[in-house]
Protein backbone atom coordinates (compact mmCIF):
# COMPACT_ATOMS: atom_id res chain seq x y z
CA UNK A 1 0.00 0.00 0.00
CA UNK A 2 1.05 3.57 -0.56
CA UNK A 3 2.10 5.57 2.47
CA UNK A 4 2.80 9.24 3.06
CA UNK A 5 5.94 9.06 5.18
CA UNK A 6 6.60 12.78 5.42
CA UNK A 7 5.39 16.25 4.60
CA UNK A 8 7.54 19.31 4.15
CA UNK A 9 6.56 22.94 3.72
CA UNK A 10 9.36 25.01 2.23
CA UNK A 11 10.24 28.05 0.20
CA UNK A 12 11.39 28.10 -3.43
CA UNK A 13 13.55 31.23 -3.64
CA UNK A 14 14.44 31.27 -7.35
CA UNK A 15 18.04 32.40 -6.91
CA UNK A 16 18.76 29.11 -5.11
CA UNK A 17 18.81 27.48 -8.56
CA UNK A 18 21.78 29.34 -10.05
CA UNK A 19 23.55 29.17 -6.69
CA UNK A 20 23.35 25.37 -6.81
CA UNK A 21 24.35 25.27 -10.48
CA UNK A 22 27.38 27.49 -9.90
CA UNK A 23 28.47 25.75 -6.72
CA UNK A 24 28.04 28.84 -4.56
CA UNK A 25 26.19 27.14 -1.69
CA UNK A 26 29.05 27.63 0.77
CA UNK A 27 29.40 31.38 0.20
CA UNK A 28 28.70 33.36 3.40
CA UNK A 29 25.47 34.84 2.05
CA UNK A 30 24.06 31.42 1.13
CA UNK A 31 25.58 28.98 3.60
CA UNK A 32 22.99 29.56 6.36
CA UNK A 33 20.14 28.64 4.02
CA UNK A 34 21.79 25.47 2.75
CA UNK A 35 23.00 24.44 6.21
CA UNK A 36 19.42 24.58 7.45
CA UNK A 37 18.53 21.76 5.06
CA UNK A 38 21.25 19.36 6.25
CA UNK A 39 19.02 17.85 8.99
CA UNK A 40 16.12 17.79 6.54
CA UNK A 41 18.15 15.70 4.11
CA UNK A 42 19.34 13.41 6.91
CA UNK A 43 15.73 12.90 7.97
CA UNK A 44 14.73 12.14 4.38
CA UNK A 45 17.55 9.60 4.07
CA UNK A 46 16.12 7.77 7.07
CA UNK A 47 12.60 7.88 5.59
CA UNK A 48 13.81 6.40 2.29
CA UNK A 49 10.95 7.74 0.16
CA UNK A 50 10.44 6.46 -3.37
CA UNK A 51 8.40 9.38 -4.65
CA UNK A 52 8.10 13.10 -3.92
CA UNK A 53 4.77 14.74 -4.76
CA UNK A 54 5.63 18.40 -5.20
CA UNK A 55 2.72 20.81 -4.76
CA UNK A 56 4.04 24.00 -6.31
CA UNK A 57 3.18 26.82 -8.64
CA UNK A 58 4.50 27.49 -12.09
CA UNK A 59 5.72 31.05 -12.71
CA UNK A 60 4.63 31.39 -16.33
CA UNK A 61 7.29 28.98 -17.55
CA UNK A 62 5.20 26.10 -18.90
CA UNK A 63 1.66 27.33 -18.16
CA UNK A 64 0.32 30.56 -19.59
CA UNK A 65 -2.76 32.69 -19.15
CA UNK A 66 -4.10 31.53 -22.55
CA UNK A 67 -5.37 28.56 -20.60
CA UNK A 68 -4.55 28.55 -16.94
CA UNK A 69 -5.49 25.54 -14.79
CA UNK A 70 -6.40 25.88 -11.13
CA UNK A 71 -4.99 22.43 -10.30
CA UNK A 72 -2.80 20.54 -12.79
CA UNK A 73 -1.33 17.09 -12.17
CA UNK A 74 1.61 15.60 -14.02
CA UNK A 75 0.90 12.11 -15.37
CA UNK A 76 4.14 11.32 -17.18
CA UNK A 77 7.14 9.01 -17.12
CA UNK A 78 9.49 11.98 -16.95
CA UNK A 79 9.49 15.76 -16.72
CA UNK A 80 11.69 18.11 -18.73
CA UNK A 81 13.49 21.10 -17.24
CA UNK A 82 11.68 24.30 -18.21
CA UNK A 83 12.98 27.61 -19.54
CA UNK A 84 11.52 30.45 -17.49
CA UNK A 85 13.01 33.11 -19.70
CA UNK A 86 16.53 32.81 -18.26
CA UNK A 87 17.68 29.65 -20.08
CA UNK A 88 17.39 25.97 -19.15
CA UNK A 89 19.23 24.88 -16.04
CA UNK A 90 21.79 22.07 -16.52
CA UNK A 91 19.81 19.43 -14.62
CA UNK A 92 18.87 15.86 -15.52
CA UNK A 93 15.21 15.42 -16.40
CA UNK A 94 13.10 14.33 -13.47
CA UNK A 95 11.75 10.76 -13.45
CA UNK A 96 8.01 10.51 -12.81
CA UNK A 97 5.86 7.67 -11.48
CA UNK A 98 3.18 7.10 -14.06
CA UNK A 99 1.36 4.40 -12.10
CA UNK A 100 1.03 6.47 -8.95
CA UNK A 101 0.15 9.58 -10.97
CA UNK A 102 -2.65 7.76 -12.79
CA UNK A 103 -3.97 6.37 -9.51
CA UNK A 104 -3.85 9.78 -7.82
CA UNK A 105 -5.63 11.35 -10.80
CA UNK A 106 -8.40 8.75 -10.70
CA UNK A 107 -8.75 8.97 -6.95
CA UNK A 108 -8.83 12.78 -6.86
CA UNK A 109 -11.35 13.03 -9.68
CA UNK A 110 -13.62 10.05 -8.89
CA UNK A 111 -13.44 9.81 -5.13
CA UNK A 112 -12.74 13.37 -4.07
CA UNK A 113 -14.24 15.34 -6.95
CA UNK A 114 -11.27 17.55 -7.69
CA UNK A 115 -11.55 18.63 -11.33
CA UNK A 116 -7.90 18.36 -12.33
CA UNK A 117 -6.15 19.33 -15.50
CA UNK A 118 -4.20 16.22 -16.44
CA UNK A 119 -0.81 16.85 -18.04
CA UNK A 120 1.19 14.38 -20.13
CA UNK A 121 3.97 16.94 -20.29
CA UNK A 122 5.12 19.50 -17.75
CA UNK A 123 8.42 21.32 -18.01
CA UNK A 124 9.25 21.95 -14.36
CA UNK A 125 10.77 25.21 -13.17
CA UNK A 126 12.05 26.83 -9.98
CA UNK A 127 8.83 26.37 -8.00
CA UNK A 128 9.38 22.63 -8.37
CA UNK A 129 13.14 22.42 -8.80
CA UNK A 130 14.31 24.51 -5.84
CA UNK A 131 12.57 22.24 -3.31
CA UNK A 132 14.07 19.25 -5.14
CA UNK A 133 17.53 20.85 -5.06
CA UNK A 134 17.24 21.49 -1.33
CA UNK A 135 15.80 18.12 -0.30
CA UNK A 136 16.87 15.63 -2.96
CA UNK A 137 20.18 16.74 -4.49
CA UNK A 138 20.74 15.22 -7.91
CA UNK A 139 23.80 13.45 -9.22
CA UNK A 140 25.09 13.58 -12.78
CA UNK A 141 23.02 10.52 -13.70
CA UNK A 142 19.78 11.63 -12.11
CA UNK A 143 17.66 12.22 -9.03
CA UNK A 144 17.37 10.06 -5.91
CA UNK A 145 13.54 9.94 -6.05
CA UNK A 146 10.78 9.86 -8.61
CA UNK A 147 8.61 12.96 -8.51
CA UNK A 148 5.09 14.05 -9.39
CA UNK A 149 4.30 17.73 -9.99
CA UNK A 150 0.96 19.10 -8.79
CA UNK A 151 0.62 22.69 -9.95
CA UNK A 152 -1.69 25.13 -8.13
CA UNK A 153 -2.68 28.55 -9.48
CA UNK A 154 -1.53 31.22 -7.06
CA UNK A 155 -0.68 33.95 -9.57
CA UNK A 156 -4.00 34.91 -11.18
CA UNK A 157 -7.11 35.54 -9.11
CA UNK A 158 -9.51 33.90 -8.56
CA UNK A 159 -7.20 31.53 -6.70
CA UNK A 160 -8.44 28.30 -5.16
CA UNK A 161 -9.34 29.02 -1.55
CA UNK A 162 -7.05 27.97 1.27
CA UNK A 163 -9.83 25.66 2.49
CA UNK A 164 -9.95 23.98 -0.91
CA UNK A 165 -6.19 23.48 -0.87
CA UNK A 166 -6.38 22.00 2.59
CA UNK A 167 -8.96 19.53 1.35
CA UNK A 168 -6.75 18.77 -1.63
CA UNK A 169 -4.07 17.75 0.84
CA UNK A 170 -6.48 15.47 2.65
CA UNK A 171 -7.56 13.92 -0.64
CA UNK A 172 -3.95 13.46 -1.69
CA UNK A 173 -3.20 11.52 1.45
CA UNK A 174 -6.22 9.28 0.93
CA UNK A 175 -5.23 8.75 -2.71
CA UNK A 176 -1.71 7.66 -1.79
CA UNK A 177 -3.03 5.38 0.96
CA UNK A 178 -5.31 3.55 -1.46
CA UNK A 179 -2.52 2.83 -3.97
CA UNK A 180 -2.19 -0.95 -4.15
CA UNK A 181 1.60 -1.08 -4.58
CA UNK A 182 4.21 -0.47 -1.91
CA UNK A 183 5.35 3.12 -2.25
CA UNK A 184 6.75 5.57 0.27
CA UNK A 185 5.78 9.14 -0.53
CA UNK A 186 6.95 12.52 0.69
CA UNK A 187 4.66 15.47 -0.04
CA UNK A 188 6.26 18.87 -0.42
CA UNK A 189 4.19 22.02 -0.31
CA UNK A 190 6.17 24.99 -1.48
CA UNK A 191 5.59 28.73 -1.35
CA UNK A 192 6.89 31.94 0.09
CA UNK A 193 6.26 33.66 3.35
CA UNK A 194 5.39 37.37 3.23
CA UNK A 195 7.01 39.10 0.31
CA UNK A 196 5.90 41.94 -1.93
CA UNK A 197 7.33 41.92 -5.44
CA UNK A 198 6.04 45.15 -6.93
CA UNK A 199 5.25 48.75 -6.13
CA UNK A 200 6.87 51.12 -3.67
CA UNK A 201 6.86 48.41 -1.02
CA UNK A 202 8.93 46.02 -3.17
CA UNK A 203 10.94 43.71 -0.93
CA UNK A 204 8.58 44.12 2.02
CA UNK A 205 8.52 41.20 4.41
CA UNK A 206 7.22 40.81 7.92
CA UNK A 207 8.85 38.14 10.00
CA UNK A 208 6.53 38.71 12.94
CA UNK A 209 3.55 38.02 10.77
CA UNK A 210 5.24 34.98 9.21
CA UNK A 211 5.94 33.47 12.63
CA UNK A 212 2.35 34.14 13.69
CA UNK A 213 1.11 32.48 10.52
CA UNK A 214 3.32 29.41 10.97
CA UNK A 215 2.09 29.06 14.54
CA UNK A 216 -1.50 29.18 13.38
CA UNK A 217 -0.78 26.71 10.61
CA UNK A 218 0.53 24.32 13.22
CA UNK A 219 -2.12 24.95 15.89
CA UNK A 220 -5.19 25.41 13.70
CA UNK A 221 -4.57 23.53 10.48
CA UNK A 222 -8.29 23.22 9.75
CA UNK A 223 -8.34 26.86 8.78
CA UNK A 224 -10.19 30.00 9.47
CA UNK A 225 -12.03 31.52 6.56
CA UNK A 226 -10.62 34.49 4.73
CA UNK A 227 -13.34 36.70 6.20
CA UNK A 228 -12.26 35.72 9.69
CA UNK A 229 -8.82 37.16 9.19
CA UNK A 230 -8.33 40.77 10.02
CA UNK A 231 -7.71 43.26 7.29
CA UNK A 232 -4.61 44.51 9.06
CA UNK A 233 -3.10 41.05 8.96
CA UNK A 234 -3.52 40.94 5.20
CA UNK A 235 -1.96 44.35 4.84
CA UNK A 236 0.99 43.37 6.97
CA UNK A 237 1.58 40.27 4.92
CA UNK A 238 1.67 41.81 1.47
CA UNK A 239 0.16 40.17 -1.58
CA UNK A 240 2.27 37.05 -1.38
CA UNK A 241 0.04 35.96 1.48
CA UNK A 242 -1.84 34.10 -1.22
CA UNK A 243 1.12 32.04 -2.23
CA UNK A 244 1.87 31.29 1.37
CA UNK A 245 -1.64 30.19 2.24
CA UNK A 246 -2.46 28.26 -0.80
CA UNK A 247 0.78 26.61 -1.63
CA UNK A 248 1.67 25.39 1.80
CA UNK A 249 -1.71 24.22 2.88
CA UNK A 250 -1.93 21.08 0.79
CA UNK A 251 1.02 19.82 2.74
CA UNK A 252 -0.81 20.66 5.98
CA UNK A 253 -3.87 18.81 4.81
CA UNK A 254 -1.75 15.75 4.16
CA UNK A 255 -0.34 15.99 7.65
CA UNK A 256 -3.66 16.56 9.35
CA UNK A 257 -6.22 14.49 7.54
CA UNK A 258 -7.51 13.17 10.83
CA UNK A 259 -8.08 16.66 12.19
CA UNK A 260 -11.67 17.37 12.98
CA UNK A 261 -13.56 19.08 10.22
CA UNK A 262 -14.27 22.76 10.61
CA UNK A 263 -17.78 22.29 9.27
CA UNK A 264 -19.15 18.79 9.84
CA UNK A 265 -22.25 19.18 7.72
CA UNK A 266 -20.16 19.86 4.61
CA UNK A 267 -18.43 16.57 5.05
CA UNK A 268 -21.48 14.43 5.53
CA UNK A 269 -20.74 12.24 2.55
CA UNK A 270 -17.18 11.65 3.66
CA UNK A 271 -18.27 10.74 7.17
CA UNK A 272 -20.87 8.28 5.94
CA UNK A 273 -18.35 6.70 3.60
CA UNK A 274 -15.84 6.32 6.41
CA UNK A 275 -18.48 4.74 8.66
CA UNK A 276 -19.36 2.35 5.90
CA UNK A 277 -15.75 1.41 5.33
CA UNK A 278 -15.13 0.94 9.04
CA UNK A 279 -18.15 -1.31 9.49
CA UNK A 280 -17.21 -3.39 6.51
CA UNK A 281 -13.70 -3.83 7.84
CA UNK A 282 -14.84 -4.55 11.37
CA UNK A 283 -17.44 -7.10 10.46
CA UNK A 284 -15.73 -8.60 7.49
CA UNK A 285 -18.99 -8.63 5.62
CA UNK A 286 -18.55 -9.31 1.97
CA UNK A 287 -22.03 -10.06 0.74
CA UNK A 288 -23.81 -6.90 1.80
CA UNK A 289 -24.79 -6.33 -1.81
CA UNK A 290 -26.60 -9.68 -1.98
CA UNK A 291 -28.50 -8.89 1.19
CA UNK A 292 -29.58 -5.52 -0.05
CA UNK A 293 -32.92 -6.61 -1.61
CA UNK A 294 -33.93 -8.52 1.53
CA UNK A 295 -33.09 -5.59 3.78
CA UNK A 296 -34.85 -3.15 1.50
CA UNK A 297 -37.92 -5.40 1.61
CA UNK A 298 -38.08 -5.40 5.37
CA UNK A 299 -39.67 -1.96 5.61
CA UNK A 300 -40.60 -1.92 9.30
CA UNK A 301 -37.18 -3.01 10.38
CA UNK A 302 -35.56 -0.54 8.06
CA UNK A 303 -37.63 2.32 9.46
CA UNK A 304 -36.77 1.30 13.02
CA UNK A 305 -33.09 1.27 12.24
CA UNK A 306 -33.45 4.48 10.29
CA UNK A 307 -34.84 6.21 13.36
CA UNK A 308 -32.03 4.81 15.47
CA UNK A 309 -29.42 6.11 13.11
CA UNK A 310 -31.15 9.44 12.69
CA UNK A 311 -31.28 9.88 16.45
CA UNK A 312 -27.62 9.23 16.82
CA UNK A 313 -26.73 11.53 14.03
CA UNK A 314 -28.88 14.28 15.50
CA UNK A 315 -26.98 13.93 18.74
CA UNK A 316 -23.72 14.17 16.95
CA UNK A 317 -24.80 17.16 15.01
CA UNK A 318 -25.85 18.92 18.18
CA UNK A 319 -22.46 18.10 19.61
CA UNK A 320 -20.89 19.50 16.51
CA UNK A 321 -22.65 22.81 16.97
CA UNK A 322 -21.33 23.12 20.49
CA UNK A 323 -17.86 21.88 19.76
CA UNK A 324 -16.59 19.74 16.93
CA UNK A 325 -17.60 16.44 15.48
CA UNK A 326 -14.83 14.01 14.68
CA UNK A 327 -15.39 11.41 12.04
CA UNK A 328 -13.56 8.96 14.27
CA UNK A 329 -16.03 9.52 17.09
CA UNK A 330 -19.04 8.91 14.87
CA UNK A 331 -17.41 5.84 13.43
CA UNK A 332 -16.76 4.49 16.91
CA UNK A 333 -20.35 5.09 17.97
CA UNK A 334 -21.81 3.25 15.05
CA UNK A 335 -19.25 0.51 15.33
CA UNK A 336 -20.24 0.04 18.96
CA UNK A 337 -23.87 -0.18 17.97
CA UNK A 338 -22.98 -2.94 15.56
CA UNK A 339 -20.95 -4.69 18.23
CA UNK A 340 -23.77 -4.59 20.77
CA UNK A 341 -26.38 -6.22 18.65
CA UNK A 342 -24.27 -8.36 16.45
CA UNK A 343 -23.46 -8.79 12.84
CA UNK A 344 -26.98 -8.53 11.54
CA UNK A 345 -27.34 -4.95 12.77
CA UNK A 346 -24.05 -4.12 11.15
CA UNK A 347 -25.32 -5.57 7.88
CA UNK A 348 -28.50 -3.54 8.09
CA UNK A 349 -26.53 -0.42 8.92
CA UNK A 350 -24.38 -1.03 5.92
CA UNK A 351 -27.43 -1.30 3.71
CA UNK A 352 -28.86 1.88 5.19
CA UNK A 353 -25.61 3.68 4.90
CA UNK A 354 -25.40 2.78 1.24
CA UNK A 355 -28.71 4.57 0.77
CA UNK A 356 -27.55 7.51 2.88
CA UNK A 357 -24.31 7.75 0.99
CA UNK A 358 -26.10 7.75 -2.35
CA UNK A 359 -28.48 10.44 -1.17
CA UNK A 360 -25.64 12.49 0.26
CA UNK A 361 -23.88 12.23 -3.07
CA UNK A 362 -27.01 13.19 -4.96
CA UNK A 363 -28.02 16.14 -2.85
CA UNK A 364 -24.99 17.55 -1.13
CA UNK A 365 -23.62 20.81 -2.47
CA UNK A 366 -19.94 20.08 -2.34
CA UNK A 367 -18.48 23.51 -2.54
CA UNK A 368 -20.52 25.89 -0.49
CA UNK A 369 -22.03 25.88 2.93
CA UNK A 370 -25.67 26.53 2.27
CA UNK A 371 -28.43 27.13 4.74
CA UNK A 372 -30.37 24.36 3.08
CA UNK A 373 -27.69 21.82 3.73
CA UNK A 374 -26.99 22.89 7.30
CA UNK A 375 -30.27 21.17 8.16
CA UNK A 376 -29.54 18.30 5.86
CA UNK A 377 -29.19 15.34 8.19
CA UNK A 378 -32.89 14.99 9.03
CA UNK A 379 -33.63 15.24 5.33
CA UNK A 380 -31.39 12.29 4.64
CA UNK A 381 -32.28 10.20 7.64
CA UNK A 382 -36.04 10.53 7.93
CA UNK A 383 -36.91 9.45 4.43
CA UNK A 384 -39.03 6.47 3.50
CA UNK A 385 -36.56 3.76 4.40
Amino acid sequence: MGKVVGGIGLSHVPSVGPVVDRNRTQEPAWKPLFDAYVPVREWLQRLKPHVAIVVYNDHAADFSFDKYPTFALGVAERYAIGDEGFGTRPLPEVPGDFGLSAHVAESLVYEHEFDLTICQEIAVEHGFLVPMNLCFPHAAHGWPVRAIPLQVNVIQHPLPTARRCYRLGQALRAAVASYPAEVRVVVMGTGGMSHQLQGKRFGFMNEKFDQWFLDRLEAEPALRSRSERSAERDEEAGPARDERDDEELPHRGVAHDTAEQADPARHAGDVVRRVLDALQRRRGIEQAGERQPRVDGDGARGRRIGRLVAGRLHLDRAAARGGRLGAGRLRAQLGDAGGEVGGELARILIALLRVLLQRARDTMPREKTSERWSGGWPEICSGDM
Binding site: H59, A60, F65, D66, E84, Q156, L197
Partner: protein
Protein backbone atom coordinates in the same frame (compact mmCIF):
# COMPACT_ATOMS: atom_id res chain seq x y z
CA UNK B 1 -14.05 40.13 -2.31
CA UNK B 2 -10.34 40.98 -2.59
CA UNK B 3 -9.22 43.62 -0.14
CA UNK B 4 -6.71 46.23 -1.27
CA UNK B 5 -3.10 45.91 -0.08
CA UNK B 6 -0.85 48.98 0.30
CA UNK B 7 1.27 49.93 -2.70
CA UNK B 8 0.33 47.05 -4.95
CA UNK B 9 -2.30 45.84 -7.35
CA UNK B 10 -3.87 42.41 -7.11
CA UNK B 11 -3.63 40.46 -10.33
CA UNK B 12 -7.20 39.51 -11.13
CA UNK B 13 -8.97 38.78 -14.41
CA UNK B 14 -9.53 42.46 -15.21
CA UNK B 15 -5.83 43.18 -14.95
CA UNK B 16 -5.07 39.98 -16.86
CA UNK B 17 -7.37 41.13 -19.65
CA UNK B 18 -5.72 44.56 -19.76
CA UNK B 19 -2.27 42.98 -19.92
CA UNK B 20 -3.08 40.29 -22.44
CA UNK B 21 -0.79 41.49 -25.25
CA UNK B 22 2.06 42.29 -22.88
CA UNK B 23 1.86 38.95 -21.12
CA UNK B 24 1.79 37.06 -24.41
CA UNK B 25 4.93 38.90 -25.50
CA UNK B 26 6.60 38.01 -22.21
CA UNK B 27 5.56 34.37 -22.45
CA UNK B 28 7.29 34.12 -25.82
CA UNK B 29 10.57 35.11 -24.14
CA UNK B 30 10.75 31.63 -22.57
CA UNK B 31 12.24 30.47 -25.88
CA UNK B 32 15.92 31.21 -26.67
CA UNK B 33 15.11 31.98 -30.32
CA UNK B 34 12.45 34.50 -29.31
CA UNK B 35 14.81 36.12 -26.81
CA UNK B 36 17.31 36.57 -29.62
CA UNK B 37 14.61 38.03 -31.83
CA UNK B 38 13.63 40.49 -29.10
CA UNK B 39 17.22 41.58 -28.54
CA UNK B 40 17.83 41.91 -32.28
CA UNK B 41 14.83 44.13 -33.03
CA UNK B 42 12.62 45.15 -30.12
CA UNK B 43 10.33 47.27 -32.29
CA UNK B 44 9.57 44.46 -34.73
CA UNK B 45 9.07 42.06 -31.84
CA UNK B 46 6.61 44.36 -30.09
CA UNK B 47 4.68 44.88 -33.33
CA UNK B 48 4.29 41.13 -33.74
CA UNK B 49 2.32 41.01 -30.51
CA UNK B 50 0.10 43.96 -31.44
CA UNK B 51 1.17 46.19 -28.57
CA UNK B 52 -0.37 49.66 -28.42
CA UNK B 53 1.95 52.64 -28.72
CA UNK B 54 1.56 53.29 -25.01
CA UNK B 55 2.53 49.71 -24.20
CA UNK B 56 5.52 49.84 -26.54
CA UNK B 57 6.64 53.03 -24.84
CA UNK B 58 6.61 51.36 -21.43
CA UNK B 59 9.00 48.70 -22.74
CA UNK B 60 11.18 51.26 -24.52
CA UNK B 61 11.51 53.22 -21.30
CA UNK B 62 11.95 50.09 -19.14
CA UNK B 63 9.17 51.52 -16.99
CA UNK B 64 8.54 48.48 -14.81
CA UNK B 65 5.89 49.97 -12.55
CA UNK B 66 4.14 51.27 -15.66
CA UNK B 67 4.19 47.75 -17.12
CA UNK B 68 2.71 46.35 -13.92
CA UNK B 69 -0.02 48.99 -14.01
CA UNK B 70 -0.70 48.09 -17.65
CA UNK B 71 -1.47 44.51 -16.60
CA UNK B 72 1.87 42.74 -16.90
CA UNK B 73 1.97 39.98 -14.32
CA UNK B 74 5.07 40.21 -12.13
CA UNK B 75 6.21 36.70 -13.10
CA UNK B 76 5.90 37.63 -16.77
CA UNK B 77 7.66 40.94 -16.16
CA UNK B 78 10.69 38.95 -14.92
CA UNK B 79 11.17 37.63 -18.45
CA UNK B 80 11.37 41.13 -19.96
CA UNK B 81 13.62 42.10 -17.09
CA UNK B 82 15.96 39.23 -17.90
CA UNK B 83 15.96 39.96 -21.62
CA UNK B 84 16.89 43.60 -20.94
CA UNK B 85 19.50 42.90 -18.24
CA UNK B 86 17.26 43.90 -15.35
CA UNK B 87 16.94 41.24 -12.69
CA UNK B 88 14.20 41.29 -10.08
CA UNK B 89 16.15 43.46 -7.63
CA UNK B 90 16.97 46.05 -10.29
CA UNK B 91 13.31 46.26 -11.30
CA UNK B 92 12.31 46.42 -7.66
CA UNK B 93 14.76 49.21 -6.89
CA UNK B 94 13.28 51.22 -9.76
CA UNK B 95 9.75 50.63 -8.47
CA UNK B 96 10.85 51.84 -5.01
CA UNK B 97 12.47 54.93 -6.54
CA UNK B 98 15.96 53.84 -5.44
CA UNK B 99 19.22 52.87 -7.08
CA UNK B 100 20.16 49.21 -7.16
CA UNK B 101 22.87 49.87 -4.56
CA UNK B 102 20.46 51.71 -2.28
CA UNK B 103 18.06 48.80 -2.44
CA UNK B 104 20.74 46.19 -1.73
CA UNK B 105 21.74 48.18 1.35
CA UNK B 106 18.28 47.47 2.80
CA UNK B 107 18.80 43.69 2.65
CA UNK B 108 20.11 41.51 5.48
CA UNK B 109 22.41 39.55 3.15
CA UNK B 110 23.80 41.85 0.51
CA UNK B 111 25.62 39.02 -1.23
CA UNK B 112 22.50 36.91 -1.64
CA UNK B 113 21.93 37.87 -5.26
Amino acid sequence: MLRPIPDTSIFDLRLAQRGRRLNKLCAALCSPAERDAFKRDEEAFMSRFGLTDAEKDLIRKRDFQGLIDAGTNIYYLLKIGSATGNGLYKMGAQMRGETYEQFLATRNMRGAV
